[in-house]
């Protein structure tokens, strides 16, 4: 068992998320950086989709009530296991009674903590992810609070020290073309892809909200509701784009500037208010190649871990 001493800004139980229910208005939820989640799980020989703890910004503290092995992936929050500094990218053996403390992230926003065997909780609609807005899933149906407990299976055997490199960060996010180019005009599309955008403090797991110095993208279009998904880039009339993330709603009436390619969506996990990004339109072939490259990264990791065992 794990006891939450301090949840920090936002801490929740997530797996890959919920699919198959979007037509009923159910959001995906799930780890914003699904690659970090998978890497953490593979270092522990867990299933890829085992539930992990998503930590936002840091300033958090957890106490382990049993022996286990953990893997920490994501941004460096200057974590300590009792008094020993621990680093993202590695596994650590944890003894009953030990405490993990996270200071604050400097260069990113989220970290993922996996435990051997995964966080144990009931699946809701085939997923252990917490749907923060609707209030179900995870261990408690909401963000973790002080004194909450998370069930894990005790693990007392020896586990090798294993490490993994995470996929490289990019400053330019690659996106699929807009389906509303004609409506929005080429001018708006060009402006969007040429400007540097800043992440605003209103950003959260539902979406990253962006602004720039000049409000040149404002418009007066409203559309019949259409389906949207993580990666959809909405342009509300105020001209400030919203990149929908995992907790984003299933339908919306704003025109779309494009869709973030699947291989770059995980990058949003590490964006915090004040960070800046740019966008670049790419074709399907480029998007598929980028996805194949990430998949290869994971495949190489599995191969290396397999070799490490022998």
């Amino acid at each position: 068992m794990i006891t939450v001493i301090k949840p920090g800004l936002l801490m929740s139980v997530q797996d890959k998320g919920r699919t198959g229910f979007r037509h009923l208005g159910v959001a995906q939820s799930g780890a914003i950086d699904s690659y970090a989640m998978v890497i953490a799980n593979r270092l522990l020989d867990n299933a890829d989709n085992d539930a992990v703890i998503e930590i936002t910004l840091g300033l958090a503290q957890l106490k382990f009530e049993c022996d286990t092995v953990i893997a920490l992936i994501g941004t460096d929050m200057k974590a300590h296991l009792d008094d020993t500094a621990i680093y993202p990218g590695w596994t650590y053996t944890v003894k009953k009674g030990q405490t993990i403390r996270f200071a604050a992230a400097r260069n990113g926003f989220r970290a993922y903590l996996a435990c051997k065997g995964g966080i144990q909780c009931e699946k809701v609609m085939n997923s252990r992810s917490t749907d923060l807005a609707a209030g179900f899933g995870g261990a408690t149906g909401c963000a973790l609070k002080e004194h909450d407990t998370l069930a894990i299976k005790p693990f007392t055997e020896h586990w090798p020290k294993l490490g993994a490199i995470s996929p490289a960060k990019r400053e330019v996010i690659r996106i699929h073309p807009s389906i509303h180019e004609e409506l929005l005009t080429q001018h708006i599309i060009n402006e969007f892809s040429s400007k540097k955008w800043h992440v605003t403090p209103q950003s959260n797991r539902m979406g990253v909200r962006l602004n720039t110095q000049s409000q040149s993208l404002s418009h007066s279009h409203s559309l019949p509701s259409l389906a949207v998904a993580p990666g959809s880039i909405q342009l509300p009339p105020n001209g400030e784009p919203i990149v929908l993330l995992n907790d984003g709603q299933t339908t919306g009436g704003y025109p779309l500037l494009g869709t973030v390619i699947e291989a770059d969506l995980f990058l949003f996990a590490q964006l915090k208010p004040g960070d800046s990004i740019r966008f670049e339109y790419v074709d399907i072939a480029t998007a598929n190649k980028a996805k194949a490259k990430l998949d290869a990264h994971l495949a190489q990791l599995s191969l290396a871990l397999e070799n490490a065992k022998h």
Binding site: T19, G20, F21, R22, H23, L24, G25, V26, A27, V124, M125, D131, A133, A134, G135, F136, G137, H176, I179, L223, P224, S225, L226, A227, A229, G231, S232, Q249, T250, T251, G252, L256, T259, I261, E262, I284, A287, N288, K291
Partner: protein
């Protein structure tokens, strides 16, 4: 207008396609019936992670992105062949307590239209509504069929908490809040009908393409 030639299926991403049937005809309900029929056919194919109808449009998310082009063609063909009458939904009766503590805005809506509260209840509960699609939050149904006589601009001050089960009117729409949430619609009644329960399978009793009527009961 010819429904067959003016619809396009476009790619949203490596694994998602969008069929846009807006602007095709004034008869949005007729188009929506085709959307429901197409959605059912897509579901039955098991090729998709999610099949999401919205207003006169359909979005599908593929399991296998290698099949993107094939499905783009397939959907275009299916759309041409599909029959509006292929879809048969379930009818739901939503027992509703109108007015009083259950519907604090019923008087306002009545006054806004120079009607009695009794008229509003009659107009609202006599209609048979079509469930166009779900969205906004789990179990929230977008309904078609609110009489123009009851179209009411949204509240100037949205409530920070609208109770679960509230039956409400906002602009040209009526709906039911499946969970406590902020909201700017006028609350005219309340129902105990459980729109969404994550422990049920399916979690939402009401599906896109179903029909619904409100049944007035004495409070």
């Amino acid at each position: 207008m010819d429904l067959k030639t003016t619809t396009s299926v476009v790619t949203l991403s490596s694994n998602s396609l969008f069929l846009d049937a807006t602007h095709l005809s004034e008869d949005t309900l007729k188009i929506q019936k085709k959307i429901w029929a197409l959605a059912a056919k897509c579901k039955a194919s098991n090729a998709f992670i999610d099949v999401v109808p919205a207003m006169n449009s359909l979005c599908v998310y593929l399991h296998n992105s290698d099949e993107l082009v094939r499905w783009q063609n397939e959907l275009t063909n299916w759309w041409q062949d599909i029959d509006t009458m292929q879809h048969q939904g379930t009818h739901h009766k939503v027992i509703t307590h109108y007015g009083g503590e259950h519907g604090p805005d019923l008087d306002f809506v009545a006054k806004a239209h120079n009607l009695t509260t009794h008229d509003v209840i009659q107009l609202h509960s006599n209609a048979r509504y079509q469930v166009l699609f779900l969205g906004f939050q789990p179990g929230f149904v977008y309904l078609h069929g609110l009489t123009e006589q009851l179209h009411t601009p949204r509240r100037d001050n949205p409530r920070t908490k609208v109770p679960k089960g509230s039956v409400a009117i906002g602009a040209n729409q009526t709906g039911i809040y499946p969970a406590d949430s902020p909201g700017g619609w006028h609350i005219i009644g309340h129902t105990d009908f459980n729109l969404f329960d994550y422990l049920n399978n399916p979690p939402s009793v009401i599906q896109p393409g179903d029909t619904l009527s409100f049944v007035s009961v004495e409070s």
